[in-house]
Amino acid sequence: MSNVGLNIGLKALLTAQTSLDNVGHNISNASTPGYSRQHVLISADPAITVRGLAIGNGVSAQSILRTVDALVQRRLVQQQGSISQLNQRLTGMSQVESLFSEPSDNGLNNLMQGFYTSLSSLSSSPDDLVQRTGVVQAAQSLTGRLNELTSSLSSARKDNASAVAAQVSQVNTLTTQISKLNQQIAAFEGGGAPANDLRDQRDEALKSLSKLVNISTNEGPDGYVTVLTNGALIVGKTKAYTLSATVSFDGTVTIKAGSSPKPVNVSGGSIGGLMSLSQNFVPDLMTRLNALAHSLIGASNHAHSTGIPSAGPFQSLTGTNSVQDKNNNGDLGDELLSNAGLPFDVQGGALYVNMTNRSNGTFTSTRIDIDPASTTVRDLLTTLNSIPHLNASLDSNGRLQMTANSGFGFDFSSRLNPHPDTEGTLGGGAASLGTSGSEPFSLAGGDTLTIGGPAGAFTVTLDQTQFSDITKATAAEIAAAINSDSATATSGMRAVAQDGHLFLQSLTTGSTTSFTVNGGTALGALGWSAGTTATGQDNSVSPTLSGVYTGTTNTSYTLVPSMDGEIGTTPGLTMDVLDASGLRVASLDVGSGYQPGTSLALPTGLNISFGVGSVSATNGDQLTIEALADSDTSHMLVALGVNSLFTGTDAADISVNQSILSDPRNFAASGSGASSDNTALRALIDTRDLPSSALGGVSTGEYYGNVVGGIGFEIDSTSNASQVEQTLLDSLQSTRDQTSGVNMDEELVNMLRFQQTYTAASRYITAVNSTNDDLMRMI
């Protein structure tokens, strides 16, 4: 009996001690991160029977258990990953936002405005060297800021990528720790008791891991926990699998697990945030900034390339962009313009090249039609070289080089030619006969023309080999065929093509010069009748063009006399003005009463005057005037970097053209060559508000505003999401604390309550002792 009593007492003492030790353990770890409150599982031992009496056998501690809600714990781990990812993104995006320094004096927006403001200032006195220097400096500030921004973004990307590598190292430390804890827990629990503190340590390690990467966990029946990130196993039952991160030169990060060659796309935790920053957010910004710079270069160069610098037309020019041998055959000439490796697209359109005779200021304009899908680099060079006094070639770097012969200069402006009738097809001094119809002409190989010319009769035979398709012959092909015929060479005549019409003309002028179309098989197709005679005149109508074309697209106007007659003399003589589609848009009265040399208004800002002389509707007199809003609709000059304001292709390499930096007078502000003209400059200013399809239909300013606004929006969205997630995390943490945390107040209140209870209990202990001591004496 006494042994039993001693045993019960000892068990009770041990149990009480265990409980108190547990209280102490809980209190000691109240501030330990991740500690889960523990409780002692106590149960009454089975009663024993002594002399027929069932006597209680006391209590004993069965086990010490963690108070944990596994579901809350798991959600807490996942939530940590979400919030870490958002906070990392928020930090990174805020840093990137600060790089843009908007709004500030050094912000790109202000520098863009500064650039356009300097252009506006220059427009009032386009030849002012001080103002030109201001434009160059503003352009330099703008390009420098773009370069700096790109460099900063690139560094930010690499920094984030490097941070990924550093944090991957922390992941490996944690996964190794978790793996070791797995082993310890399994070994400890093999003895039958739960490994509470080790499990708390493992939970804490998992929580730390989830702050770095998004994880999913699974606990097996033997206490091991396996951990996966985006499907890749990083903690197995027996070991941890090392994550590795490789960062390429451009900042691309690749994460792999163990020896698996398959990349792991970590999307959560701070590494997920860093990956999102370095692989998406920053590169996307760089792409958008590059698009902005590309568009700025393209639009500005397009306006500038057709301008004329202070010194007037160019003597020589070299493009800044190189043609590339894309088909690797060692020949740059055979590359199609659509596939010549040029940084800006060549479009289907026309390029106008003006050649100026420096001795008298007259110039001729040549239209070059370009189809990038069929025009080769060699075709372009051949056409350029066919322009009198102009030489074009590629230099050793594949850049276009153009040089004018001495005494000549060239430019690409849309300036008006004040003397447009260079061929004398409208009342010129030479005898002239034009076709009433325009190309194509349906001829046949071997067709002939027999003409009685100033030097005698001759016959021209049309050679089929000189036509692409002689049944659809162009005026230019026919003129070339006639002019190349040996019979023409000595005939004192020539053929001219203009706006699809073919003209036969005498080489000499004057009223004594004439020729007659005598016959030939080609007459019918050309609409001429045998016996038609053309006679020259001593005067020349010589139309003179003035004004500024105010249209927004390229067009042409054709002047056709309403009858045969003399300017200013013949009653009822008018000059019909046809638009590009052949519709009459005006009729100019040049008959009796018209004073030769008086300007008459053409549509859209142009004026024309006519000198003394005769015009002939019968002989097909007419003149086509090109009215240009854009003299390079093919964007050929931008693609080749000819007469460019900016060099480079994106935000990283955009720069002001070195020739302009060296001498601001090379800035091409003029559209006509006159020093006071600011036409090209105004076109450049207009690019500020020009919508760009490459920028989604908005201007560069709006686009940049969207870029900066987009960053702010992303930050706001992420910040809001972070706050929501933080609230959820706080709620989960609160739930976890209520379940698993040590409540110091509660523990203290319990102990104070114990103290109160001892007083009551001691009274009863005394009473029980006293009463039963008496009883023992009575038994």
């Binding site: 019960i8 007492g9 009770a12 009480a16 106590i42 009454a44 009551a760 209990a761 023992m776 038994i779």
Partner: protein, 157 residues
């Protein structure tokens, strides 16, 4: 004067009541021990408070026992203090029922006293530990002043 057999019957009834009461107290003291070990102050207080009616009932049984012993003393004309349950059994003709109850009562009372003392020792030890913890928790921070811990006047001030 109460006939002897009636007196013996009454004593047997008293002994049975006493045994039943002690069994209930055994349970309550065991519950006190269990609640103390489980750090359950509320449970301990409930178990302790439940002893109150048991002790009152036992006090009534003491009065009843004293009255029966006084009657027995008058029967044998001896001083009541000279009698015990054992001497009463020896003075009478064989009383196997009362003798058995006397033995059970002796075992039960001995165990009750032992358990009560054990709980007393346990509570005393528990009280010291709790005092230490309370002092540690609400002490002023001075390592030498642990014993002064719990002086809430300072904290309130």
């Amino acid at each position: 004067m109460i006939p002897l057999q009636n007196l013996l019957n009454s004593l047997q009834a008293w002994a049975q009541e006493e045994l039943a009461g002690q069994r209930r107290m055994h349970v309550l003291i065991e519950r006190q021990e269990s609640r103390l070990c489980a750090n359950d102050p509320d449970g301990l207080l409930l178990a302790t408070q439940a002893l109150e009616p048991e002790l009152e009932a036992q006090a009534e049984r003491v009065v009843k026992r004293q009255r029966l012993f006084a009657a027995a003393a008058r029967h044998w004309k001896v001083d009541p203090g000279a009698l015990s349950l054992t001497s009463i059994v020896e003075r009478c003709a064989p009383q196997p029922g009362l003798a058995k109850l006397r033995d059970e009562l002796r075992v039960s009372t001995t165990e009750l006293l032992r358990r009560n003392r054990r709980f007393s020792a346990l509570a005393s030890s528990h009280r010291r530990f709790i005092e230490e913890l309370v002092n540690a928790l609400i002490e002023s921070g001075d390592p030498k002043s642990t014993r002064r811990g719990g002086t809430l006047v300072d904290a309130e001030a």
